[in-house]
């Protein structure tokens, strides 16, 4: 769905106030989200209009870029992911939000993450509201068959992968479509203690070889190279995969499928290969610099970044909020929250490696890595070209 037919798509949340706010949001079509916004509208006395944006990541990014670049004033706040913030924050399209995420508030978020993703030249340009943690999910039936109940390290993981589960079922499943494979690639590099920005690093190369060999040895399916998360989730639910790495946001999908539980799909501790590190991503609000409703927008952002605002979002949408203190200490309505809390406490949460040309770089890296996986290029050729992609837009 496009963002351009705003009149048709706009969902208006009425209020008697003079202040008005237009939000372009990824969840604008979700009735729960509209109810949540309705409550905020009443609390803050702001008339809030919500317009949807395209589901497809490339289309979404192109449309939002065009709106910001053209100085459009019809949208005030936009919900964006890490990739988009990384691209926009240095371009001068966004309003700094240092008065919302003050130094005190910053401590309540994963600080390194916010500094890496939301900050540019000591200013903060986004307010995270929902956190996705890359987690390890296991199908208990596979664990039972291989008798590896607890995958703690590389040896356990290798044994789990090596067990013969039968035809057309795989010990590991991924979404390896060109724009999604980046998530697995960077996650394995984390776990192997490598550095995504350094393709000569031996640990980075070890992670790449490990993924390559998983495919070569038939531990994972070649067919997943055209799969995005929706296909991967379906296959995991259908019992075709023994384990996956997937963001915590998928919890609702697995839970609502009726397959989540101790005997079926469940969260598992992160195996320690070399480093107990996992990627996190957030959805965030950015404020359009050309907005004419900055005062209302900042009141809204102040609220959603407050403890009350975070709890309200989490309970309304059954998602993890972005504030660590709220995840750890507040009563929030997310299935298996205790396991998620263990990740937050025990695992290093790391921002994904992103550059100022994220979307293009991610896609190019994905295509290049697919070539390596299919043995169309060698490891050295892959690493050489991967370094070129990284160097093009990355400045530490």
């Amino acid at each position: 769905m496009s963002c351009t037919n705003n009149k048709e798509n706009k969902k208006e949340v009425k209020s008697d106030s003079f202040e008005e706010l237009n939000i372009m949001h990824i969840e604008a079509d979700n009735p729960e989200f509209i109810k949540y916004i309705d409550n905020i509208s009443k609390k803050l006395n702001i008339k809030i209009n919500v317009v949807p944006c395209p589901e497809d990541a490339n289309n979404r990014q192109a449309e939002i870029s065009t709106k910001l670049y053209s100085g459009s004033t019809d949208i005030d706040l936009i919900s964006v992911n890490d990739e988009m913030v990384s691209e926009f924050k240095s371009k001068g399209y966004l309003e700094p939000l240092d008065d919302i995420i003050t130094k005190d508030v910053l401590q309540l978020y994963p600080k390194d993450y916010v500094e890496s993703v939301s900050m540019y030249k000591n200013s903060i340009f986004s307010v995270p509201y929902m956190m996705d943690i890359m987690m390890f999910w296991v199908n208990e039936k596979y664990a039972g068959q291989s008798k590896i109940q607890d995958i703690k390290n590389i040896e356990d993981f290798s044994l789990f992968l090596d067990y013969d589960y039968g035809t057309a079922v795989y010990a590991y499943g991924g979404a390896w479509e060109e724009t999604y494979i980046y998530n697995d690639l960077s996650q394995f590099i984390n776990m192997f203690g490598g550095d995504y920005y350094n393709w000569n690093n031996s640990d980075t190369r070890a992670a790449v070889i490990f993924l390559h060999d998983m495919l070569k040895n038939g531990y994972t399916s070649k067919g997943q190279m055209i799969d995005r998360y929706e296909q991967m989730e379906q296959k995991f639910i259908d019992g075709k995969y023994g384990s996956v790495f997937m963001y915590s946001g998928a919890m609702n999908v697995f839970y609502n499928s009726g397959k989540y539980g101790k005997d079926e799909i469940h969260l598992s501790k992160l195996p320690k290969i070399k480093s107990l590190t996992t990627n996190i991503a957030t959805w965030q609000y950015v404020l359009n610099k050309a907005s004419k409703n900055k005062s209302a927008a900042k009141r809204f952002l102040k609220y959603i970044s407050s403890k009350e605002g975070c709890v309200e979002y989490s309970n309304a949408m059954n998602q993890i909020p972005a504030r660590v203190d709220v995840i750890l200490n507040e009563d929030i309505n997310v299935p298996d929250i205790d396991t998620i809390r263990e990740y937050v406490k025990d695992v290093e949460l790391k921002a994904r490696p992103l550059t100022s040309g994220s979307m293009i770089d991610i896609s190019e890296m994905g295509k290049l890595f697919q070539k390596y996986l299919l043995d169309e290029i060698t490891l050295d050729e892959f690493c050489y070209n991967a370094q070129k992609i990284v160097n093009r837009n990355y400045s530490k």
């Binding site: 490339n58 289309n59 990014q61 192109a62 870029s65 065009t66 670049y69 691209e87 371009k91 001068g92 035809t167 057309a168 479509e177 060109e178 399916s221 070649k222 067919g223 190279m225 055209i226 296909q231 379906q234 296959k235 075709k240 100022s356 040309g357 979307m359 293009i360 295509k367 697919q370 070539k371 299919l374 169309e376």
Partner: protein
């Protein structure tokens, strides 16, 4: 010449001015602007907007992605058009035969053509899926252990895209040939039969010469549509694996609307426009020669 005649002479000119203005604004203006943009390096995401002359035109021939797109576009157009002509003619001949249910068949055969290419692409993506697709499901009824990922390997992915293109547009091509076949009088066929001609001779000596102009005329728009086709690939393979099914029109759309690399996309669009104009000109010349 009196005043009345002078006014009459200008009336047609005045009457066509609105359409010329509208046409100029909707066709010529975008072409001119696209050409001007092609001389600039315009990258919206980086905020770059600088004049670079014909550098984009030179860069096109150094770009591996474009070379790969051109290769597949040539394969796609040639193979697809070849099968359009061959199978389209066969289908038209079948639809021209007298049998029960002919009208019904003529109607339902057009259903794929009436479906949007994006919908077909999305359905085909699932259709060719190894685990859930109906293609492999059908094959597994005969070969139970069959496993194949159609859209992962270059050859099969390209074949799948071309087959879906044929599935969609071939019936329309056939129906248009059928309209030509219906103009051929039954008397001609009867006279040939009386003279002792067999079916093959009738086809090559009577039917084909009488519909060849139809086929050549149809080849112009159908080839141009293949050259500008992007939606099927967009929904079905996203140009993958790698860039192996990335048609040139798909590449233009990606450069333009995803990468927001407007200057480069304009260059590709202008080059495609020139190619299409050239193709149409050659085809029309060929047809005129054939008429002579």
């Amino acid at each position: 010449m009196n005043t009345n005649n002078k006014i009459k002479k200008y009336i047609p000119v005045i009457l066509i001015i609105p359409i010329v203005v509208i046409r100029g604004f909707t066709t010529i203006y975008p072409i001119v602007i696209t050409f001007i943009n092609s001389l600039y390096n315009i990258k919206v995401l980086s905020g770059i907007h600088e004049f670079i002359g014909f550098k984009n035109y030179i860069d096109v021939f150094k770009d591996d992605k474009i070379i790969s797109s051109i290769k597949f576009t040539v394969i796609f157009v040639v193979v697809s058009m070849l099968f359009h002509v061959l199978l389209g003619t066969v289908l038209a001949l079948i639809l021209n035969m007298k049998f029960r249910g002919r009208r019904f068949l003529r109607t339902i055969v057009l259903i794929p053509w009436a479906m949007p290419a994006v919908v077909i692409g999305m359905a085909a993506k699932w259709g060719f899926n190894n685990d859930y697709g109906l293609i492999n499901d059908l094959i597994r009824r005969f070969v139970p252990d069959f496993q194949f990922n159609w859209l992962i390997n270059t050859g099969s992915a390209r074949g799948a895209v071309i087959s879906m293109d044929l599935w969609k547009d071939l019936p329309f091509f056939a129906i248009l040939i059928l309209s030509g076949l219906q103009f051929i009088s039954e008397d001609v066929y009867e006279a040939a039969k009386v003279d002792g001609a067999n079916s093959v001779q009738i086809f090559f000596k009577i039917t084909l010469p009488l519909i060849i102009k139809n086929i050549l005329t149809l080849c112009i728009p159908f080839t141009l549509w293949r050259l500008t086709s992007f939606d099927l690939v967009y929904a079905m393979t996203s140009g993958g694996p790698g860039e192996d099914t990335s048609l040139i029109a798909y590449r233009i759309a990606m450069e333009s609307f995803t990468n927001l690399n407007i200057g480069y996309a304009s260059t590709l669009a202008i080059m495609l426009f020139v190619l299409m104009a050239l193709f149409s000109w050659v085809n029309i010349r060929f047809m005129n020669k054939y008429n002579d």
